[in-house]
């Protein structure tokens, strides 16, 4: 006799996918699933042994198995111990580009003013609040607008936080999200000296990129982008710049061309994201497409990326890499946009130029549109405890536990999934309403199905997946 341990399951094509809370999975035929769940498998049946080895069943020593599984669950959910570790800071809301889908409501660049830029006094308070976080390892990410238009503020934030870190013993990683069009040598040398990672955007080859991300001065943002990309790499290092691809109605039919552009520009990673319904994206035509259309295009692009890897060029899809880490390894991660409970306000926060603190980047985008629903406080009058002790943070956490959603609690993909309370609030007008599917489901479910179809084949594509998850060359994985 044997006991079934807790698992979720669902049909996938002609099989049944069984998944445990810690993300271990097994494919069974419907007949095997039926035999297994009706306790008809003999003790020496290899299938039962397989399921035991994955803690989907136990025969003897149930207590020991449960205790061992508890250790694994704590490992998987270690992110719950994490306090606010990702601190996004907006030194200015001014920008020198006029991206058609701009989600943050940036202002055309001009002179800095109190209505667009963070004062040094506010910047100092931001750093002080960040350092009150109990977390030892912190990440400060500069967002905008275009943060390099306020280089002096960025420089102050970095140097002052480094001084604080030296006192408190915290480790700080810096990232700057920049369009790479405003990068004098002085800024570049500063980024190198302080090991600030560069995250940028590339939407395709010249014609696509310039159409979606035009410079306000009428010059080609693509040309400047390429020149500055080369400068950054030659000064800081080949892997110093990563890039984000925003998918619009305009470039989604051309994703293979866009991916070729990433290869041509020497990128080894790509983050492909759909447009969020904020800011200019609400009214812009190219921003409107159904989630399932995005997913279909994205999955076709993923297959194309896999082929590129097979042909010897290393190119990792960063979003899939994160999901695979959850599927293939015993560990969780600090990816804040897809956690259960959600990471907003619990693992990350955004400090706007005016000192307002929001639960996430999307929370500030919503505020720019006039709804400050996710405002947690302001650094000018609140300290860390005041801001993150806001009852909204606790409410967002309790309301975004997918395990408590009727539509999610039985989904086999739940252990890998998560929610975004701001997006749910905007799209389904619900925060913890639990009466509708979280908005991410239409996007995520087909992606998970696709990944598990590939994993079920267990062929060279699984080798590529492992090369992404472990960050090693494909030839070190294949046999």
């Amino acid at each position: 006799m044997y006991t079934l341990l807790p698992f979720r399951f669902g049909r996938l094509d002609d099989g049944v996918l069984v998944v445990t809370d810690v993300g271990e999975y097994h494919f069974l035929s419907p007949q095997e699933f039926d035999d297994f769940t009706h306790a008809r498998l003999a003790a020496d049946n290899p299938l039962l042994q397989d399921l035991k080895g994955k803690f989907i069943a136990a025969d003897t020593e149930l207590d020991s198995a449960a205790r061992f599984q508890a250790v694994k669950y704590r490992t998987k959910k270690a992110f719950l111990d994490t306090s606010v570790c990702l601190h996004m800071v907006v030194p200015t809301i001014r920008c020198n580009c006029g991206c058609v889908y701009c989600q943050v409501g940036s202002h055309p660049s001009g002179r800095a003013s109190r209505r667009t830029d963070m004062s040094l006094r506010t910047a100092k308070r931001v750093v002080d609040v960040i350092h009150q976080s109990p977390e030892r390892n912190l990440k400060i990410e500069f967002q905008g607008g275009e943060p390099l238009l306020a280089f002096e503020t960025v420089a102050f934030l970095v140097t002052y936080s480094a001084i604080c870190a030296a006192k408190t013993g915290k480790q700080i990683e810096y990232v700057i999200c920049t369009n790479l069009t405003e990068l004098p040598d002085r800024s570049l040398r500063f980024l190198k000296r302080h090991k600030v990672a560069i995250s940028t955007s590339l939407d395709g080859p010249r014609n696509i990129h310039d159409r979606q991300r035009p410079s306000l001065d009428g010059s080609s943002s693509y040309g400047t982008f390429c020149a500055n990309l080369l400068r950054a790499r030659s000064l800081i290092g080949e892997d110093s710049v990563s890039a984000l691809l925003t998918v619009t109605k305009a470039n989604s039919p051309l994703l293979t061309t866009v991916i070729d552009e990433y290869v041509a520009r020497g990128f080894h990673s790509i983050f492909i994201r759909p447009i969020n319904p904020f800011g200019r994206a609400v009214t812009c035509d190219v921003a409107h497409y159904p989630a399932d259309e995005f997913t279909a295009r994205y999955l076709a692009a993923l297959d194309y990326i896999l082929e590129i890897n097979r042909n010897g060029y290393r190119l990792a899809d960063e979003f899939v890499r994160t999901l695979l880490g959850r599927i293939l390894t015993p560990f969780g991660d600090a990816y804040v946009d897809l956690q259960s409970p959600a990471g907003a306000g619990r693992m990350c926060a955004l400090y706007n130029y005016d000192g307002n603190v929001y639960a996430s980047d999307e929370g500030r985008m919503l505020a720019e549109m006039g709804d400050p629903a996710f405002l947690l406080g302001n650094v000018k009058r609140d300290n860390f405890q005041g801001i993150f002790g806001n009852p909204l943070v606790a409410r967002m956490a309790t309301d975004t536990v997918l395990e408590s959603y009727p539509q999610c609690r039985c989904c086999p993909y739940l252990p890998y999934c998560g929610s975004d309370p701001v997006r749910d609030y905007v799209e389904v007008h619900s925060l913890g309403g639990k009466d509708v599917n979280p908005s991410g489901c239409r996007l995520m479910r087909p992606i998970f199905q696709h990944l598990f179809r590939v994993l079920r084949q267990d062929d060279w594509r699984t080798d590529v997946f492992w090369s992404w998850v472990t960050g090693r060359p494909l030839q070190d994985i294949m046999m």
């Binding site: 042994q49 035991k52 025969d59 694994k72 560990f331 472990t470 046999m479």
Partner: protein, 375 residues
């Protein structure tokens, strides 16, 4: 561990000594102990200079079989039963501290069922450590099961750290007693930098593992491994490939990657047909050729996850060429024996060879490989 047998006289209790050639012209030193007169080597007279103060020259072990295996500067342990155990070999870096004869498992493939039931071996082990050359690279602490005498284990580790600071120490343990985290913390508190734990895990299936270990030890060992990981200890998993567990090697590899991701190395080892393994040979022996597909999949699972792995006790002629990169030679010289058929093989110099005991059971795939020439 290589053990020779002869006939003892005047040996009242076990002791330790270093083997030297007897110089007749200088007369027999008072503290000398004679191991002599192997039947076929009447001219070879070796002595072990004992360290016990009451050593007497009268003590001898005669009629030792295979006396030729004993070399000068070997360190041996001599027993009243006539057993002479080579603990530190002058020919190889195979240096072993036998911490205890006791064991808390009852493995059906145990290659070295200890022949002597002694009380504490601490005094003997202190003596052995005195003989270890400071340049020694590696010492293996084995048993029995070293963790059944945790205080002695910790004392020996502290001695190693103090006297042989640059020597790596490998502890061969089944890990079961390490489920008590206090023991692990005390071992970690010794602060030995070059310490590693080599723990057998035979299957992802608790029942299969427990069948092989002869005890209900699967979860005890897993918890021991978790405790070692919590104390940042270096862990190698060792799996002997037998008829019972070979089919599930890929699942075992998956289990290690998923549950024991802190493992730094996995060693798959061919069966040594000796000791209790020989008693159970019909149950545990499997033609090595039959295990290759499973072994290869297991190596791929570990390779994907980035966990280093090796194969011991399989020969190049048995392994497909793509697995040759995983083949290693055992550190014990007596585990690198060869068959007459191997003399014409071009790869004999780098082949993992046979455990000496494997000459009775070996793969039917064994054949000489010609290198460079057309066949």
């Amino acid at each position: 561990m290589r053990t020779l047998v002869g006939i003892a006289s005047h040996v009242d209790h076990p002791f330790v000594g270093r083997v030297e050639r007897l110089d007749h012209s200088a007369g027999r030193p008072a503290r000398a102990f004679v191991i002599a007169h192997g039947e076929t080597h009447a001219d070879t007279e070796l002595r072990a200079v004992g360290c016990t103060p009451q050593s007497e020259a009268r003590r001898t072990i005669d009629n030792i079989e295979h006396l030729e295996l004993l070399r000068e500067r070997d360190v041996v342990e001599v027993h009243p039963s006539g057993h002479v155990i080579i603990l530190l070999s002058s020919r190889s870096n195979d240096n072993r501290i036998l911490l205890t004869d006791r064991c808390n498992c009852n493995c059906i493939i145990c290659p070295q069922v200890p022949p002597h039931a002694t009380e504490s071996r601490l005094a003997l082990n202190r003596a052995i450590l005195d003989f270890v050359a400071p340049s020694t690279e590696t010492i293996v602490i084995t048993g029995g099961e070293p963790t059944t005498v945790p205080e002695e284990l910790i004392e020996v580790l502290a001695l190693c750290k103090c006297r042989l600071p640059d020597c790596r120490v490998e502890i061969l343990t089944n890990g079961a007693a390490l489920e008590d985290n206090r023991i692990v913390r005390n071992i970690a508190a010794v602060g030995h930098d070059g310490l590693s734990f080599h723990v057998p895990l035979y299957s992802d299936s608790s029942s299969l593992h427990d069948t092989i270990t002869g005890t209900r030890s699967f979860y005890r060992t897993l918890n021991g491994l978790l405790n070692l990981a919590r104390c940042d200890q270096d862990i190698e998993i060792r799996t002997v490939v037998t008829a019972l567990n070979y089919e599930r090697l890929p699942q075992l590899a998956y289990f290690i990657a998923r549950n024991l991701p802190f493992t730094s190395h996995v060693a798959f080892m061919g069966l040594e047909p000796i000791g209790r393994a020989m008693d159970n040979i019909s149950r545990v022996w499997i033609e090595p050729g039959e295990t290759l597909e499973s072994l290869s999949s297991a190596l791929h699972v570990l390779r994907r996850a980035g966990i280093a792995s090796s194969i011991y006790g399989y020969q190049f002629c048995v392994l497909p060429e793509r697995l040759w990169q995983y083949s290693r030679r055992a550190i014990s010289d007596w585990k690198n024996s060869f068959l007459p058929v191997c003399t014409s093989c071009g790869l004999v110099a780098t082949c993992g060879g046979f455990f000496e005991s494997q000459v009775s059971h070996y793969s039917r795939l064994v054949r000489p490989i010609r290198v460079g020439g057309a066949e």
